[in-house]
Symmetry: C2
């Protein structure tokens, strides 16, 4: 049975500014001590289960050279550049169509390129379990994550605990909750975090797209027909922008039947902000995460990421995120890492586009 993976690498994460920039977003950064970038880790951890020739990357023209540079081992024809961002449904539809041309019932792992997973064997075993379930019937499976605290920044999956199996029917996808709701979800034991990772047969997701997103299904046909022809790129650039911009969650998952989830417990982290660094890296006794040459006295709960070229001296501070790069320095209270967009807005207003 063929296992394939489709990795989304078109995102423009702004929350890791000033290290992430429009020309080099988070998935192409290394945020761990081993020096591997997020997307390199994403590909590497799949290799026990998926052959290189069956790994597809959805990106955009701006990042094509980064993808080639960081992942030279991926066959060139597996790297698809979307002409413009149309959310996840068109990307999934296109990838599923191309995979189905080769093998209709191939299992497809749809994965973000910028998440971290601590326990890779557990992750692989969850994917295997999901693949087995996806192969039976027409199940669409989403990887849920066992919540460990009342996070308000994620969507949740309300699932029905059934006995015997590890694959549970999904009752409902729910939006990012407020804190009281998140606490309720956490304690009920009936909710999982929505990781944005999906497993299905190519034929299953295509059938559901045909049913619930007929415009998308129709729009994909000329592109799929042109694959492996000289006109492919031209037709992709003509047709892709006409596809409906929609997420697969809203377009299919919230409407379809046979939606299931698997409880993942493999140390998942979406690395959603600079705060993730202290979760995914070792910290010192004062709960500091220091990357670079840092001299400190009376400093605690700080996350500091240097650029390797400058000494950073810190005295008597706490709860700060400090990120130094060649042309920009960020000093941010930990409670305000979600407000980095305010800085970016001001940079835009000041027409400092080179810093975005």
């Amino acid at each position: 049975m063929k296992y394939t993976a489709v990795i989304m690498a078109g995102g423009v994460g702004e929350r890791f500014w000033p290290k992430s920039r429009q020309h080099c977003p988070k998935q192409f950064l290394s945020l761990t001590a081993d020096g591997e970038t997020m997307i390199q880790k994403t590909v590497k951890r799949l290799l026990p289960l998926v052959k290189l020739e069956d790994i597809y990357l959805m990106t955009n023209a701006d990042y094509l050279s980064l993808v080639h540079e960081q992942l030279p081992q991926i066959p060139e024809e597996n790297i698809l550049a979307e002409p413009c961002p149309r959310n996840t449904a068109p990307a999934i539809g296109l990838a599923a169509s191309l995979i189905a041309r080769k093998e209709q019932d191939a299992v497809m792992f749809f994965l973000p390129s910028d998440h971290l997973i601590q326990h890779e064997e557990k992750f692989i075993s969850a994917l295997q379990k999901a693949a087995q379930a996806a192969l039976q019937g027409e199940k669409l499976i989403t990887l849920g994550i066992q919540p460990t605290y009342p996070e308000t920044g994620y969507g949740y999956i309300h699932y029905r605990k059934t006995s015997g199996d590890d694959v549970f029917p999904v009752e409902k996808f729910v939006e990012k909750p407020n804190l009281p709701k998140a606490e309720k979800y956490l304690h009920s034991g009936e909710y999982l975090w929505n990781s944005g990772m999906f497993i299905w047969k190519a034929s299953s997701i295509l059938e559901n797209i045909r049913k619930y997103m007929p415009d998308l299904f129709q729009g994909l046909q000329p592109i799929v027909k042109a694959y492996h022809t000289a006109q492919f790129e031209e037709i992709l650039y003509q047709q892709f922008p006409l596809l409906p911009s929609e997420s697969i969650d809203f377009g299919v998952m919230e409407k379809a039947e046979h939606i299931f989830t698997i409880r993942g417990d493999f140390g998942w982290d979406d690395v959603g902000s600079w705060l993730a660094l202290e979760r995914i890296n070792p910290t010192d006794e004062q709960h500091n995460y220091f990357d670079g040459e840092i001299i400190s006295s009376d400093v605690k709960n700080c996350t500091v990421s240097g650029n390797g070229k400058k000494i950073i001296a810190m005295l008597g501070v706490e709860d700060l995120v400090v990120v130094d790069t060649k042309d920009a320095l960020l000093i941010c209270h930990k409670q305000q890492t979600q407000e980095i967009k305010k800085i970016l807005a001001q940079l835009k207003e000041n027409q400092r586009f080179e810093l975005l």
Copy 2:
């Protein structure tokens, strides 16, 4: 009547690290928006009263080129490089001896090179008043500063309020007090801050050195005799290190008679730490002092000094001092600016001498 000035420019201020370095201490930095360095300001504000040819600079070999570069208008023979640091008494003794050779009763203003004065006319008028008093009898006059808050970082002058005159007898010099004492001093109205600025006739201070520091007086003679000869530098380098290392405060002022003070009220600031920047420069509505390209949101009471080459983005922080330079970045809570020496100690330990 000849007015002369002797400016001390040999200090190695560590409290402005990382902008100040061993090879470029505070007096050679510009800490105000006008771009003038501290020592340039010190010379400039004297010009209504003292001719350029009567301004002497005491520095050391390491800073000779900086002095020449920043003060090309000062005659070269007025710039004296101490072979090694011997505190203030030998420097004052040497300068007074050289001045007395030209005119025994010349008035000598002895001044630090790294203080700021807001109201320069008031300062000049205080110097004039002191000079007049110094010319009568053998008075040694110290400029006291009217305290405005209970500072614990300065020495104090206990003086006797006498009526009629503005020149008051000094009862006693007192060491840096603790806070309760500083508060007592402030409210008593009988204490002034010791600014380290002195006014006397060259002959008066020499007579007192002869009396209270006879070793110093004797040791100076061969150096003074060699002045304006080809052997001067050789003899200076031989003899100066043999002079007793002592402050003029301890060696003379605390022992001599005829010690007087004038109450200065001319916006004096010793610019003793990074905290001074917000006193001596305009701040914004959130009490921030920003020098450089800074983008901020929800930031208050911060002092930020960039190096002009990098944007600094700040989010949700307060009470920080941030100083960015080419090779070092300081992030310090305002209450800990006096602890910068801990950073320097660590740099020494790590043998990062190029950063000191």
